[in-house]
Amino acid sequence: MEVVKKIVLYLFGLFILLFGNRKGPESGVSTQEPNVDLNKDIEKRFHVHTLLYNTIQDRLTNPAVHFRTERIDVGSVEKTSSPSKKTQTETAKPEDASGTK
């Protein structure tokens, strides 16, 4: 009896797997027409900056107020801090002053 129960449940699971979600892919297709006017005024909704070419400095400049990322020289990256990041636990012991600038 137990074996029959297992077989029935297995077949039921197989049936659900194969036929349980037949309408899934079809139901995801939208029949709505694309809204062609949606991006009609896109230029009004964004700031448009005009870049100027500086022939003396051979570079593009942006005269408009803008944010810019902090400049990092990735060409010759040289990690200055030591790789060891061992953290010690200390008390408020005295600190030594010296004159190394």
Binding site: S82, Q88, T91, A92, E95, S98, K101
Partner: protein, 315 residues
């Protein structure tokens, strides 16, 4: 009378090598060690963007474009305005355009074939040193052809001040940053009212001169002993006098101030001030920048500002 404090207070302490110095940051264990990463990142960022010895930093661009204007960021302008203010106060005894002189003496270079510069060489280098010729126009900077700026006397301190700003933003009210021993910046609250700082003899490194109990500020030290070159068996300190071209005569200066950037500039400048001018000058510095300090001259005579002794201990 100093208040008692909890000496068992524990801190996360991390040491890294930055700005040619060992930098230690201590924060209470109640805060995450990840905060230390953020703090060191701030120092690295300052190093990358402003260190004159680092290629493509703003100060490197200014140096490489000598004779032409270079566009820089607001921080560079802020730094240069403050530097020019201090340089002007000391009438050029502090001057960041001193790099040609440092190169002439052979500092920051390999030690081969070092010799004393000739008088003609010194005069040629001295003619290039003049902070007044650093021109600022809006966000643009120009130095004269032949001039070269060095950030060695102030940038580490500026980075330390940036770290303190972040510590305060993160709500940390008890912390310490020891940048190479020459810049020690500290925050204190009621649970830990002061930090103990030890000041050593400029000639005998292990000889303690005195201790200091300091709260919410910065202790800046300049000394000739720590960084020096040897020519013909004689030692020459790295702090040079922009007027004479020779190493500063004074042995050591200590300044207690509100922030590291100003303190480091003032301590460097005082290395070149003759001993007879110290007392009135230290008073003026207190009035203008709210600092106290001491100077040790070439004969080991120590002169303290009137308001300095209150911090001293002999423990």
């Amino acid at each position: 009378m100093h208040r008692e404090q909890n000496k068992s207070q524990q801190y996360h302490a991390q040491v890294r090598f930055l700005f040619h110095a060992t930098v230690k940051i201590k924060i209470p264990v109640a805060y995450s060690v990840l905060l230390l990463d953020d703090l060191f990142s701030i120092m690295e960022s300052v190093d990358y963007q402003y260190n004159s010895y680092r290629k493509n930093s703003y100060f490197d661009l200014i140096n490489r474009s000598a004779g032409s204007f270079v566009e820089v960021d607001d921080f560079t302008i802020f730094l240069l305005n403050k530097i020019k203010e201090v340089a002007s106060f000391f009438d050029g005894l502090y001057d960041i355009s001193i790099m040609p002189l440092l190169r002439l003496w052979g500092f920051y270079q390999s030690g081969e074939n070092r010799r004393l510069p000739s008088q003609e060489e010194l005069q040629a280098a001295l003619q290039k040193i003049d902070f007044r010729k650093i021109e600022l126009e809006g966000n643009k900077v120009r130095i004269q052809k032949g001039q070269e700026l060095t950030t060695g006397s102030f940038l580490k301190a500026f980075a330390v001040d940036r770290v303190v700003k972040e510590l305060k933003r993160a709500g940390v009210s008890d912390a310490l940053i020891n940048a190479g021993g020459s810049t020690i910046r500290y925050l204190n609250d009621e649970s830990h009212p002061f930090w103990d700082i030890r000041v050593y003899d400029p000639d005998v490194r292990e000889q303690l001169l005195f201790g200091l109990k300091l709260s919410n500020g910065c202790f800046s030290t300049s000394a000739q002993k720590e960084t020096r070159i040897v020519i013909d068996g004689k030692e020459y300190g790295h702090i040079l006098n922009p007027k004479t071209g020779f190493p500063a005569a004074n042995k050591q200066v200590g300044i207690v101030g509100k922030n590291a950037f100003e303190g480091d500039m003032l301590s460097t400048a005082l290395m070149n001030v003759p001993s007879e001018q110290w007392k009135p000058l230290l008073k003026q510095l207190d009035e203008r920048w709210g600092v106290s300090g001491f100077v040790i001259d070439e004969n080991r005579k120590i002169t303290f500002s009137d308001n300095f002794n209150e911090n001293m201990t002999t423990e």
